[in-house]
Symmetry: C2
Subunit: 115 residues, 2 copies
């Protein structure tokens, strides 16, 4: 855990969030500024600043991030109609919190380009 | 390989594409309709229709998809300024080819919402 990381604190329950999913390695909660009718963030509990910082030793953790997102998508009933996963890195990507987070967006047709 | 899958054929070299990265399990190529100055698709060579179809047995393959994307992002020099990863599922997500593909978008500031 990184002491000053917002998402580490959310994962630890030190800052409240609207929980959607939780297990030993992942935590999911609703985005406070939703960009779609359903907008959820899925994070690994382990602090890694950027997805691009993940390396071979994180392969299982990164695969599990997508599988946890899939589980959330199923629970939210998003899969049949469809949904979008987004992961931002650094300024051009629009990353605002430096703890890996996967955005799940659904509940409306997502447009193209994706931002 | 799925007989009628466009991306299986691209992965097999049966349909030409502008290759960016290739290894035993993944293939990356430029999107023919780029939505950003750099727009690359990364696919697993194994045919899986949707990311939401991936299950526990695909954990390593899915983790490797993100790691392959990271390698592509590094080679393209996108990491420092930033980039966005996008994976679409079904109609609301805007999925057009039913073989898992991760979009890498960079070379400009990506906006919000992401579509």
């Amino acid at each position: 855990m990184a002491d000053e990381c917002l998402f580490c604190k959310i994962s630890a329950g030190e800052i409240p969030s609207e929980e959607v999913y939780s297990d030993e390695n992942y935590y999911a909660f609703r985005d406070v500024n939703p960009a779609a009718p359903t907008h959820i963030l899925v994070i690994p509990r382990q602090h890694i600043s950027r997805v691009t910082d993940a390396s071979e030793t994180d392969r299982s953790l990164m695969g599990g991030l997508l599988l946890a997102a899939n589980e959330v998508a199923r629970r939210e009933g998003l899969v049949e109609k469809g949904l979008r996963y987004v992961i931002n890195t650094n300024d051009d990507g629009g990353q605002t919190v430096y703890h890996i987070h996967l955005h799940i967006l659904g509940g409306r047709p997502m447009t193209w380009p994706p931002g």
